[in-house]
């Protein structure tokens, strides 16, 4: 413990030199930024993980053999931890609106940002089984009324009346009376943002959409068979994970099988699947069940072209989640640079102080101060600056995080702009997640860094020969 003179002088030196405020302000600013920015970043990441989680089943069986039958697979998925399983069939396609929209109208909606295209990942789902493994019902509830599926119990079926009106709008032949019309096309659900853009072009639930795709080698050899099927726009879904929703279109699995040449009514057809979505029972260890199922499936299916994969929800989104975490790490690094600047400020002010106080160093030595004790005056200056700055930064940082949304609301109401435009991020409030561990790390790190940079001038002070210091002019 440094002697009382070191504490006393450190405080006197600090309060009589306003330049030391720079160090305190610098540390406070860096700590504040590290707490608030990383808090908001963590909040966003938390929200993103929630969205990704909502869009993803507990486990996904994929990399299945070509033309794998769902019926055959079900036997291999029996496990105490599996609560429900639903088949999925993925196939790429391109969709066109079967509408009478003129080329002039289309040209008025040219996509200058290159975000609009017609490519789509068709995901065939079983409307009865899918809600048992994912939050499909919730996905449908999250969209505005104008694009909501007319019948939540049968989201992939459009009422005859709506389909009749769509048929008329597209200029297709239709009976005179709506009562005489029977719905014939399977429904197609688009992701919310994509549906929104189509709605702005005049699309309405009930409008027909033509989906075009190709089957490679379907008739043997290198042949490519063009596939086409008409669907009807049934509405939109919103998992919250925009990147996922943007490319996906949900269709009935039977319709997609038919499009791919496996109509259930044909002889020799196979109830093909490419993936299986699984919901686990409460408390089940996803990774352990995935490993168990993988072995079980592989053993049951025998040697396959490539190993069957059973992915946890995190593994299904590994690249995306890693990228987001990487961004947070980069942000920490950038903000740490602010901390380094404040540390340099402390170093510069203390170094200057030592140069100005050379004679005092000699006086303290003459009064009986050891070199270590004399140097400790400047270490304590760094400690006081670090602790004061870190405390201020932590306090203001926590308050800023608490008042972030009220301040943002006030700015929006009174000044007409927001710090974080919520519409842009599609979030009801600015998410800010303060983590006690991170706050503690930042505060302690700031103090330790202040001590470290104070140690250099302190060492210079301690090494000053007393006689030389006393004679310093």
């Amino acid at each position: 413990m440094p002697a009382v003179f070191a504490w006393f002088l450190a405080l006197r030196y600090l309060v009589t030199r306003w330049v030391n405020l720079l160090g305190i302000v610098g540390v406070a600013l860096a700590v504040w930024a590290l707490i608030v920015v990383i808090g908001i970043f963590s909040g966003f990441i938390g929200a993103i993980r929630e969205d990704v989680r909502r869009a993803t089943p507990d486990l996904l069986v994929t990399d299945l053999p070509h033309q794998q039958s769902w019926s055959a697979l079900q036997q291999l998925l029996r496990d105490d931890a599996v609560a429900a399983a639903a088949p999925r069939l993925r196939h790429v396609g391109v969709f066109y609106l079967t509408s009478g929209m003129s080329p002039v109208v289309r040209s008025q909606n040219l996509d200058f940002n290159n975000v609009e295209n017609s490519f789509v990942m068709l995901v065939g789902i079983d409307p009865a089984l899918e809600p048992q493994v994912t939050g499909l019902t919730g996905w449908l509830d999250r969209v505005p009324d104008v694009m909501r599926a007319p019948d939540p119990d049968q989201p992939l079926a459009v009422p005859a009346e709506a389909e009749y009106r769509g048929r008329k709008r597209a200029g297709l032949p239709a009976p005179r009376q709506v009562e005489d019309y029977r719905a014939i096309w399977p429904g197609l659900l688009l992701g919310k943002s994509r549906a929104n853009r189509q709605l702005s072009l005049g699309l309405q639930p009930g409008d027909p959409m033509d989906v075009v795709s190709a089957a490679f080698g379907a008739k043997g050899g290198d042949t490519v068979t063009a596939l086409q099927k008409r669907f009807v726009f049934a509405g939109a879904f919103d998992t919250g994970h925009d990147l996922h929703d943007e490319v996906m279109a949900l269709v009935p699995i039977e319709s997609l099988r038919t499009m791919l040449g496996h109509d259930a009514e044909d002889d020799g057809s196979v109830d093909i699947v490419t993936d299986v979505a699984i919901r686990l029972r409460e408390g089940a260890d996803g990774a352990a069940v995935a490993a168990r199922l993988q072995q079980q499936l592989q053993a049951g299916l025998g040697t396959t072209e490539r190993p069957v994969s059973v992915l946890t929800w995190e593994q299904q989104n590994q690249v995306f989640l890693d990228a987001v975490e990487h961004e947070r790490a980069l942000m920490k690094l950038v903000l740490f640079a602010v901390m380094l600047v404040s540390a340099f400020l402390i170093y510069a002010t203390l170094h200057m102080m030592v140069s100005q106080k050379v004679k005092d160093l000699g006086i303290l030595s003459a009064l009986g101060g050891s070199p270590q004790a004399v140097g400790s005056v400047f270490v304590l200056c760094g400690l006081v600056v670090g602790v004061t700055g870190a405390s201020l930064g932590t306090g203001i940082g926590i308050l800023s995080a608490i008042w972030l949304n009220p301040v943002n609301d006030w700015m929006h109401a009174n000044l007409g702009f927001e710090l974080f435009p919520r519409q842009l991020y599609d979030l009801p409030v600015i998410p800010c997640q303060l983590e006690a561990e991170w706050i503690t790390q930042v505060a302690i790190g700031a103090v330790l860094l202040s001590l470290l940079v104070a140690w250099l001038p302190a060492r210079k002070a301690a090494r000053m020969p007393p006689v030389e210091a006393l004679g310093y002019e």
Partner: protein, 242 residues
């Protein structure tokens, strides 16, 4: 006008400070420059010793070596008959605090502190903050009493910049006394003062010497002043001349 008075040197007591064959050299461009060349010196309790000599004779260097601010090249420094120059840096600093008080020509007060705080510093050097809490009131009382004794009872809260040269030197004397040292090493304490103020300061030092029985080693150019001391030691080119 300086009063000439010869006190009788205390005898029969063990020396509080002793130098044996003290040598100190500096090296400049590989060449040895001897400053002290075999000094023998004994200072007894209550004794006031004047060190006289021309500039460059080695007076200040001797004072620094005696006060453990500098190490001799060879020879021995003894406090209370114990060798001290080979102790660790920290132990020498502690001994310096307990045994020696310094008074400098240019006062060497800390400008950020008031007169009283400068004096209090003399007792803050080897006490922990918690330990100081227990003795704070007593030390403050002692410091104020000393300030009154040196005639600055009304100037406690003035900073050095607000004090005259003589007042600053009296603050420095009070600071040196507060730690209750055995010997005061004064390096031309009146060298920066006008003659009347210098007389006042010297009378104060003589009074302290007689009242407290403190040993003094007083570096001076002033023959009259030296004559008032118990003993005069003349230095020339780093050796004692008689």
């Amino acid at each position: 006008m300086t009063t000439m008075q010869h006190a009788t040197a205390p005898v029969g007591t063990e020396p509080v400070l002793e130098a044996r064959q003290l040598r100190k050299s500096y090296w400049l461009g590989g060449r040895e420059i001897p400053v002290l060349r075999g000094i023998d010196l004994r200072v007894h309790r209550g004794e006031m010793v004047a060190l006289l000599g021309a500039s460059g004779a080695g007076k200040s260097t001797l004072l620094h070596v005696l006060g453990l601010l500098d190490k001799p090249t060879s020879g021995e420094v003894r406090y209370d008959d114990k060798p001290v120059q080979d102790l660790s840096v920290a132990a020498r600093a502690k001994l310096r605090h307990q045994h020696v008080g310094f008074v400098f020509q240019f006062y060497h007060l800390i400008p950020e502190l008031t007169a009283l705080q400068n004096v209090l510093l003399g007792r803050m050097m080897d006490v922990s903050p918690l330990g100081y809490l227990g003795i704070r009131a007593k030390v403050r009382e002692e410091a104020m009493a000393l300030m009154a004794q040196v005639g600055l009872g009304e100037r406690l809260h003035h900073r050095p910049a607000e004090l005259s040269g003589g007042e600053r030197q009296r603050v420095a004397i009070a600071r040196a006394l507060l730690a209750q040292p055995r010997v005061i090493l004064a390096d031309e304490p009146t060298g920066n003062l006008d003659s009347s103020t210098a007389d006042e300061v010297m009378n104060l030092l003589f009074r302290i010497n007689s009242e407290r029985g403190l040993a003094f080693v007083l570096v001076t150019h002033n023959e009259e002043l030296a004559a008032r001391c118990h003993r005069v030691i003349r230095l020339k080119d780093g050796v004692v001349v008689h």
